[in-house]
C-alpha cells in the first residue's frame, strides 16, 4: 500500500532537517545581528567616551591659559573621527570658546547613556573639564550614528545572504543524503514486510559498513534466527500436538480465572465432554462436588485447587459428564506468558491403580492376620509343649531319678557295679532334667504364667546376665505391670528375649538398659545398648525385627528403631493398654 507523503520517512526526514536548519540559521542570524549591533554600538561608545575623556583631560590648561587658538588647533589635530558630528569647548562661564562641526541649537541636547538610547541620530555627550578639583569649562561632543547604522545594515544584508545560501545548500545536501539513506531503509522496510508475511527467504544488501549496512546485516541475521526458531517451534508444537492427541491422560490449559482454554481428545474419553464443550468452562467442572467432611480435597474443588497446587501430584475425584465419579491423579504446572499466568493440568485416571491398591491392601491385611494367627498358634503350641514336657517328661525323669537313687542306696556295700550304674542313672537323669527344664523355659517360661511379666523379664535378664557377665545389663520398670493380659505379656517377653539375643549376637555392647513403663494408657518398652549400632536404612536380612514389628502391630502398637553405625541401638515399643 503506498505511503502518504506525510508519513514517508524520507519526506519527514528532509522536512525536519530543513525546518531545523531554517530555525537554527534564523536564530544564528538574529543572534549575529544582535552581536554586530552591540559591537558597533560599543565601539562607538568606547571611541566617543575615550575621545571625551582625552579632550576633557587635556583642554584644561588651554582654558586656564585662555589660549583658545592653540586649543582649537590641538582639537583639530586629534578630532579625526569621521563620526564626530560636533565638538564644543565652553569656558567656565559656559561660553563656547572652541567650536568644531555642526553645533546643535541651544540649549545643549541631553546627554545619551548609550548609542541605543539615541533618538535624534546623534550621540550627545558632555563632560566637565577640570584641573585638579577646579572646573575649567565643559566639553560637548556629538557623534553621528549614520555610519554605525550603515555598517549594521551592511552586516545584516551579508548575514541574510549567507543564511539563505546556507539554507539552500543544506536543503540540497539533505535531499541528496535523505534520498540515499531512505532508499536503503526502504529496502529494509520491504524486506521486513515480507518477513512479516512469513517469507523468510529474504536478504537485504549489507555491503556498505555504515549504520544502515550494519542494521541490514543485523536484520539478515535476525531473519535467519527467526526462521530457525520458527522451524524449531513448529516442530516442537507438532510433537506436543501428537503427544496431546495420542495421550491417554487428559490435558487441559486454563487461565488464572480457572477458565479452560484448551483440552486434548483424551478429555472426551475421560469425562465424556467434547473438546469444544470444555472451552470456556471452569476447570472445577471436572471434579466431583465433595460432601462436607468426607474428602480432604473438598476444600480445593474450587479455583484455589487449580491455581495453587503447582508442581505436585494430588489425588482427586473426577466427575464425568454423566455424573459418575472416578479417581484422578492431578498434576498442575504454571508458566507466565507476558506477565499473565497460564496453567496446564494433566488428569490421569487412576481407577485401576486404586483397585490394585485396594486388593493389595486386602492381601496385606490377610497376610498380617495369618502371621498373627500363626504367632498365636506358635505360642499356644509352645506353651502346650512346655506343659507336656513339664507334666509328662518331667514327672518321668523325676521318677527315674528317684528309682535310681533308691537302687543306689540298696546296692551300696553289696554290688559295686549296681551302685555305679545307679549313680550314673542319677547323674544322667539329672542332666536330662536340666535340659528339659531349659527347653521348657525357652518354649514358655512358667514364671510368666505364675508370677507375671516383670518376674519373667527379671528371670530372663538374670539368665542372660549369667551367660554374658561382661555386659552390664539392667532392667527398670515403672507402673502397674500386672493384669496386662496374655497377649501383651508374651509379646513383650518375646521382644525382650529377641532383643537380648540380637545384642549378644551382633552388638558387642558393654552396657544394656531395659526400661518398661506403663503410663497414660500405653505401655512403653525401651531397650538401649551402646554397641556398634546398625544402618537403619539398610537393615539386615534377619527376621527378628520383622517378627517383633508384626507382634506389636498385632496389638495395635508401634515399634521404632533408632541407630547409626557406632552409636548403639535404641528400640522403642509402644502398646496401647486399657486401664
Amino acid at each position: 500500500m503506498p505511503l502518504s507523503p506525510f508519513r514517508s520517512l524520507r519526506v519527514r526526514l528532509i522536512a525536519g532537517v530543513v525546518i531545523i536548519e531554517i530555525v537554527m540559521v534564523s536564530l544564528l542570524v538574529w543572534n549575529n545581528l544582535g552581536v554586530i549591533r552591540q559591537a558597533h554600538a560599543d565601539r562607538l561608545w568606547n571611541t566617543a567616551a575615550g575621545m571625551l575623556e582625552l579632550v576633557a583631560a587635556t583642554s584644561g590648561r588651554y582654558l586656564v591659559e585662555v589660549d583658545y587658538a592653540t586649543l582649537e588647533e590641538y582639537l583639530r589635530n586629534i578630532a579625526h573621527q569621521e563620526e564626530l558630528s560636533y565638538l564644543v569647548i565652553s569656558d567656565r562661564d559656559e561660553r563656547p570658546v572652541v567650536t568644531l562641526g555642526q553645533v546643535p541649537d541651544a540649549p545643549w541636547p541631553a546627554t545619551d547613556g548609550h548609542p541605543f538610547e539615541v533618538s535624534d541620530g546623534v550621540l550627545d555627550m558632555a563632560q566637565q573639564i577640570r584641573i585638579g578639583n577646579q572646573p575649567m569649562g565643559q566639553v560637548h561632543m556629538g557623534f553621528s550614528l549614520a555610519q554605525m547604522n550603515r555598517s549594521i545594515d551592511s552586516a545584516r544584508l551579508r548575514s541574510i545572504a549567507i543564511a539563505v545560501t546556507g539554507i539552500v545548500l543544506t536543503i540540497l545536501a539533505t535531499v541528496f543524503i535523505g534520498v540515499h539513506l531512505t532508499r536503503r531503509l526502504g529496502r529494509l522496510a520491504a524486506a521486513a514486510q515480507r518477513v512479516g508475511a512469513g517469507d523468510y527467504d529474504v536478504a537485504v544488501p549489507a555491503e556498505i559498513r555504515d549504520e544502515v549496512g550494519t542494521t541490514a546485516a543485523a536484520f539478515n541475521r535476525m531473519v535467519a534466527e527467526v526462521s530457525q526458531r520458527t522451524r524449531h517451534l513448529e516442530e516442537s508444537l507438532a510433537r506436543e500436538r501428537v503427544i496431546e492427541e495420542t495421550s491417554i491422560d487428559g490435558m487441559i490449559t486454563y487461565a488464572a480465572s480457572g477458565q479452560i482454554l484448551s483440552a486434548n481428545p483424551a478429555m472426551h474419553q475421560l469425562f465424556g465432554y467434547r473438546q469444544d464443550e470444555l472451552l470456556g468452562k471452569p476447570a472445577s467442572l471436572l471434579l466431583a462436588p465433595v460432601s462436607d467432611g468426607k474428602d480432604a480435597v473438598a476444600a480445593y474443588a474450587d479455583n484455589a485447587l487449580w491455581t495453587h497446587t503447582i508442581d505436585t501430584r494430588i489425588e482427586v475425584t473426577g466427575q464425568r459428564r454423566d455424573g459418575s465419579c472416578f479417581p484422578l491423579e492431578l498434576s498442575i504446572g504454571r508458566v507466565d506468558i507476558s506477565g499473565e499466568p497460564l496453567f496446564a493440568a494433566t488428569l490421569h485416571d487412576i481407577t485401576e491403580r486404586k483397585l490394585a491398591e485396594h486388593e493389595c491392601h486386602s492381601l496385606l491385611e490377610g497376610n498380617r492376620f495369618l502371621i498373627h494367627k500363626s504367632l498365636a498358634v506358635q505360642e499356644e503350641e509352645r506353651r502346650h509343649l512346655a506343659r507336656e514336657l513339664h507334666d509328662e517328661l518331667g514327672q518321668c525323669m523325676t521318677a527315674i531319678q528317684a528309682d535310681a537313687e533308691l537302687i543306689h542306696e540298696l546296692s551300696r556295700d553289696r554290688d559295686e557295679k549296681i551302685t555305679t550304674s545307679a549313680s550314673a542313672i542319677v547323674s544322667v537323669s539329672s542332666r536330662m532334667y536340666d535340659v528339659v527344664h531349659s527347653m521348657m523355659q525357652r518354649l514358655r517360661p512358667g514364671v510368666l504364667d505364675d508370677l507375671g511379666l516383670l518376674a519373667a523379664l527379671e528371670e530372663e535378664v538374670d539368665a542372660w546376665q549369667a551367660r554374658f557377665p561382661q555386659v552390664d545389663c539392667r532392667l527398670v520398670s515403672e507402673g502397674e505391670l500386672m493384669g496386662l493380659g496374655e497377649r501383651i505379656n508374651i509379646t513383650l517377653y518375646r521382644i525382650v528375649q529377641e532383643s537380648l539375643t540380637n545384642i549378644a549376637k551382633h552388638a558387642g555392647a558393654t552396657r544394656v538398659s531395659l526400661q518398661l513403663v506403663r503410663q497414660e494408657g500405653s505401655l512403653i518398652l525401651r531397650v538401649e545398648d551402646n554397641g556398634r549400632g546398625m544402618d537403619t536404612e539398610h537393615p539386615g536380612r534377619g527376621l527378628g525385627l520383622i517378627g517383633m514389628r508384626e507382634r506389636v502391630e498385632a496389638l495395635g502398637g508401634s515399634l521404632s528403631v533408632q541407630s547409626a553405625p557406632g552409636e548403639g541401638v535404641v528400640l522403642r515399643v509402644s502398646i496401647p493398654v486399657t486401664e
Partner: protein, 283 residues
C-alpha cells in the same frame, strides 16, 4: 618752553585722571568676575594646584567671584597685562610688575613677606666652574628670557664683565626645575634659577650641585590691581591678604603656598627694577 612743558604735564595729568576716572566708573559698573592673572612660572596644572585656593579664598572673603587665569608663556602674559589690560588682579614677577605699573598703572597691594628674591648660579659639585668667569664659553641654562632669574642673571653677568650673548651660550628651558635638571644631568654646564626654587629642589640634586654666584636681591613677587579697580575693593583686598596669617584658614593657605604671609607694598618699592626691566626691550 617751560609753559609748554607745564601745559603738557597738566594735560597728561588730566588725561590720566580722566582715564582713571573712566576706568573706575567702568569697574564700578562691572558685575562679572574679577580676573586674577598669574604669571606662568610653572606649568598650568601646577599653577592651578598652587594658586587656585588663593583665588577661592579671596573670592570668599571679598564676596565676589574671582576667576583664575594664566597665559601660555611670559610674553603672552606681559602682552595681556600691558596691552590688553586683561587682568583685574595681577600676580607677577617684580620686574614685570614694574613694567605693568609703568605702562598700565597697576598698583601693588602686597608682596610676599620675604626679604627679597635673587637668582643663583649653580653647577655640579664636580664641575670645573668655580666663578662666573669660569662660565665663559660654557652653556648656562636659564628659563624664559623674560623670567626674573634670566634678567637678574644677565645683569649679574654683565656686572662681572661677561657679555651673556657672546661670551657664553644661554640655553632656554621651560622652567626653573628644567634648568636645574639640565645642569644636574650635565646637559648644560650651569644653571641660573631663583633661589627659593633651588631651596625647594630635591635633596639629592642639591647635594650634587653647588652655588657659584648670586645675583642682586629684588623685592619679592607682588599682587597688584588694575587701575580700574576702585580704592575700596583694593583696600579690602590688601587687608585680606595682609591679615591672612592672623586667621586659621589664612594660615593654612599660606602653608600651602609655602609663604609666611603678605605685607603691604611700599610706594616706590619696585622702582629699582627699572634697569633690568628696560633690558627686556619691552615697550
Amino acid at each position: 618752553m617751560r609753559a609748554l612743558t607745564g601745559f603738557l604735564a597738566g594735560l597728561f595729568a588730566a588725561v590720566i585722571s580722566i582715564q582713571a576716572l573712566a576706568q573706575t566708573s567702568a569697574d564700578a559698573g562691572k558685575a562679572g568676575p574679577l580676573v586674577f592673572g598669574f604669571l606662568p612660572i610653572v606649568s598650568s596644572e601646577r599653577l592651578v594646584h598652587r594658586f587656585s585656593p588663593l583665588a577661592d579664598y579671596l573670592s570668599a572673603k571679598l564676596d565676589r567671584k574671582i576667576r583664575m587665569e594664566t597665559a601660555p608663556d611670559f610674553a603672552s602674559f606681559v602682552r595681556r597685562t600691558d596691552d590688553e589690560q586683561r587682568y583685574d588682579i595681577l600676580f607677577t614677577a617684580p620686574h614685570l610688575y614694574y613694567l605693568a605699573h609703568r605702562k598700565s598703572h597697576y598698583r601693588a597691594l602686597v608682596r610676599v613677606d620675604r626679604p627679597g628674591m635673587k637668582a643663583v648660579f649653580v653647577t655640579p659639585v664636580a664641575s670645573p666652574v668655580h666663578s662666573l668667569q669660569d662660565l665663559r664659553g660654557r652653556r648656562l641654562a636659564t628659563t624664559d628670557p623674560l623670567a626674573l632669574a634670566t634678567v637678574l642673571a644677565r645683569a649679574r653677568l654683565e656686572q662681572a664683565g661677561i657679555d651673556p650673548d657672546r661670551d657664553l651660550t644661554l640655553v632656554a628651558t621651560p622652567s626653573h626645575n628644567a634648568s636645574l635638571l639640565s645642569c644636574y644631568r650635565g646637559t648644560t654646564d650651569a644653571a641660573a634659577l631663583i633661589r627659593p626654587l633651588y631651596r625647594r629642589a630635591r635633596a639629592e640634586i642639591r647635594d650634587q650641585t653647588r652655588v657659584v654666584a648670586e645675583t642682586a636681591s629684588v623685592p619679592h613677587m607682588p599682587i597688584a590691581v588694575a587701575p580700574w579697580i576702585d580704592a575700596h575693593t583694593a583696600a579690602r583686598l590688601r587687608d585680606i591678604l595682609v591679615n591672612m596669617s592672623a586667621e586659621t584658614q589664612g594660615r593654612a593657605l599660606l602653608r600651602h603656598l609655602d609663604w609666611p604671609g603678605f605685607v603691604a607694598a611700599q610706594p616706590g618699592e619696585y622702582d629699582g627694577l627699572g634697569t633690568v626691566a628696560d633690558q627686556l626691550g619691552i615697550d
